[in-house]
């Protein structure tokens, strides 16, 4: 059984209706529609898409951490067979960090600057009543730092004494404090140098193997996904465009969006090759096209009237390879 099974998850954001005036009436923007995926214990999934396509919203929704305006319209989030969406807030608190923990985007810049790394980790350990005694908690904080490759004595330093890569490691260590079974990493290497990025990738790979973690990586960087993920979910404007194994996505992409995204990604082994860009930008949520959401930017030769009229269903074209395109098999 999959440790995490998300089915038909849809999330709306409520916003003031500009026509009705503020405070009177609101409209729902469909930020995420019918997103689903399965994650087995010890495997890794990459969630890829441009900014604003709903990647982070999906993760926030399954941890039930959406902002006030966010509503889960329907769907199921089965964690170990239990639907998290039916949990009470108190039960949910038991799942966060212990069951599923998340390294938020930019978390490395959100460390408290006036407290030592160790004290911030101890606070987390005690709040989640993993360890009550301060001494034991400090001991555990040291072990966690060791696990991510930071000498434990540096726990007594402040965040400003850490480099960017070390701060990111410390944040990952914190996320591992309660021995979670799933780790969600949201853009874990943006704003880091290539070499540090490789160090973090290596760390995630090693942690995954050592702790038998399931990993969800949210990123817009296809290269990162190719390096460590087993499965890939490509999202576009709040919907799944393609969902398949990493090998299929990179070597046999079926959705035009996936194909264009791959063409836009420079490959260091083929210098001087041409880079295709995807003209235009993703649709605004308050102005979604009636048919396929990628249709206005799609340049595929099979494009026909139906693309602009009907939302393509997600079809499994071969075992484990799902595509939402009317012409998937032909492309």
């Amino acid at each position: 059984m999959a440790i995490l099974d998300v089915r038909n998850l849809s999330v709306d954001y409520l916003t003031d209706d500009p026509l009705a005036g503020s405070g009177r009436g609101s409209i729902a923007l469909h930020a995420v529609e019918n997103v689903g995926f399965r994650l087995e214990q010890g495997r890794s999934l990459g969630l890829v898409g441009e900014s604003g396509c709903g990647k982070t919203t999906v993760m926030m929704a399954l941890l039930r951490l959406l902002p006030q305006e966010g509503r889960i319209v329907h769907g199921q989030v089965l964690f170990d067979g239990q639907d998290l969406l039916q949990y009470s807030e108190a039960e949910m608190r038991q799942v966060r960090w212990r069951g599923i923990s998340m390294v938020f985007q930019g978390a490395m810049n959100a460390l408290n600057p006036v407290r030592t790394i160790e004290s911030q980790m101890v606070e987390a350990l005690r709040l989640h009543s993993i360890i009550e005694q301060p001494r034991a908690a400090r001991q555990r904080a040291g072990e966690l730092l060791q696990l991510v490759g930071i000498p434990p004595r540096r726990g007594r330093q402040y965040p400003h004494q850490y480099s960017g890569g070390m701060r990111q490691r410390a944040v990952i260590a914190m996320a591992l404090a309660c021995n979670p079974r799933i780790l969600i990493a949201d853009e874990p290497t943006t704003a880091l140098d290539v070499m540090i990025q490789a160090q973090i990738l290596e760390l995630l790979e090693q942690l995954q193997a050592e702790l038998y973690l399931s990993l969800v990586m949210v990123t817009h960087d296809l290269g990162m996904v190719a390096e460590i993920c087993d499965d890939v979910l490509v999202m576009y404007a709040g919907m799944v465009a393609e969902y398949a194994s990493s090998d299929a996505i990179f070597n046999n992409p079926q959705h035009p969006y996936t194909q264009r995204l791959l063409e836009a990604f420079p490959d260091v082994e083929k210098p001087g090759s041409t880079l295709a860009s995807i003209p235009g930008s993703p649709p605004r949520l308050d102005d979604l096209p009636p048919g396929c959401r990628f249709e206005p930017r799609c340049q595929c030769q099979w494009r026909e009237a139906i693309c602009a009229q009907k939302v393509p269903p997600l079809v499994e074209i071969e075992p484990g390879h799902c595509v939402a395109c009317h012409w998937a098999r032909r492309i």
Partner: protein, 363 residues
């Protein structure tokens, strides 16, 4: 016209002094320096795109700042179009600050003989303006480098006003229109009444580029122009820079830590480590036959978009050491996977290994 290089950098050094405490000042402890750039030389031909590649802390941005005259080099010369940038921006030769207080000997600057402009007779403001008309910068983050309260038109028109390049409103509009449309924001009147917040990331970066282009510079320093953008938009901006070179012969100094984008559109590549260039050569050659161990490591960690081609990564442990206490000998030896005993003693200099390809490594 004979092919005179547009930019020549000779032995550029930029040291930032570290502030001393009261005690250190009283005891006359020698001032210490962060050696951000320590002896960088390179030449750029007209219409060339050179990538300056390195991790943060390697000094690549500092080189860009000095080229634009935004900082005063500690030592060395930068000749833009045959004129000395340092003299241009500061009005006098570089002031020398060294550890011992003794001025080192300057390398003889060349190419000043043919200068038509006599910079010394101009005011400081006029000199800076002449420099800005020749060299402009494209900043990294289009979300932060545009004034949110200025409309696109005003952002792009501001340099025109400062430089008094337009005699009338129509002329100004014409220049702004040309710059915006060159950058792919067409029709220009559709965009110029908008505020940056109404534009997407890619469009903002185009506005930033238009603001630099409106003065019709010969040299653009692009400091990580795509690192804050989505992958699908990166290609657009890089293609735009490429087109500017092809159509207008603009020279571009592209600083980045991303070897993959650099490999896609640059002619030559200079890899920097701790304030020095360690490898310099044609981009395709550097990427396919890297000679320096640092270049090899950098290339090995660039993610390849194909799980079937997962490679063995050479991950260098730790980070660039701080440039205050530089390692003896080769600066790279403490992290070098192939370091030999001699690397600890001898500081390697750039030497040619193939036509146009230079490497600073003893191995």
């Amino acid at each position: 016209m004979e092919a005179q290089p547009i930019l020549r950098v000779y032995d550029l050094c930029k040291y930032f002094p570290i502030s001393r405490g009261v005690w250190d000042t009283l005891t006359r402890k020698p001032r210490r320096y962060v050696r951000a750039v320590d002896g960088v030389s390179f030449v750029m031909q007209r219409g060339e795109i050179l990538a300056l590649v390195g991790e943060s802390g390697s000094g690549k941005t500092t080189v860009g700042m000095n080229v634009l005259g935004l900082q005063r080099p500690t030592r060395g010369h930068i000749l833009l179009d045959g004129y000395d940038v340092t003299e241009w921006a500061q009005g006098h030769g570089p002031t020398l600050e060294t550890d011992g207080g003794k001025p080192p000997t300057l390398p003889q600057a060349q190419g000043k003989a043919g200068s038509e402009l006599c910079l010394a007779t101009l005011s400081w403001r006029r000199r800076v303006m002449l420099l800005r008309e020749r060299a402009q910068m494209i900043f990294q983050d289009p979300y932060e480098s545009l004034n949110p309260r200025q409309k696109v038109f005003d952002i792009v028109a501001e340099p025109v006003e400062i430089h008094h390049l337009a005699r009338s409103r129509e002329e100004k509009e014409e220049r702004v229109r040309a710059a915006l449309e060159t950058c792919g924001l067409a029709p220009a009147d559709h965009f110029w009444g908008r505020f940056p917040a109404e534009l997407s990331g890619g469009q903002r970066q185009r506005v930033v580029i238009a603001g630099a282009l409106v003065l019709e510079p010969k040299l653009l320093v692009a400091d990580e122009p795509v690192s804050m953008l989505d992958v699908s938009i990166r290609a657009e901006i890089l293609n735009l820079l490429h087109a500017l070179r092809r159509e207008r012969g603009i020279t571009i100094l592209y600083t980045t830590h991303d070897l993959a984008t650099a490999g896609f559109f640059t002619d030559r590549m200079a890899v920097m480590y701790l304030g020095r260039i360690v490898e310099l050569g044609p981009t395709a050659e550097v990427l396919s036959e890297p000679r320096h161990p640092y270049t090899r490591a950098l290339i090995s960690v660039v993610p390849v978009p194909n799980p079937r081609r997962r490679r063995k990564r050479t991950i260098l442990q730790g980070e660039i050491p701080n440039p205050i206490d530089l390692p003896s000998g080769c600066r790279f030896h403490p992290r070098c996977p192939d370091a030999a005993p001699k690397c600890r003693e001898t500081d390697p200099q750039l030497r040619p290994v193939a036509p146009g390809h230079e490497v600073a490594c003893l191995a």
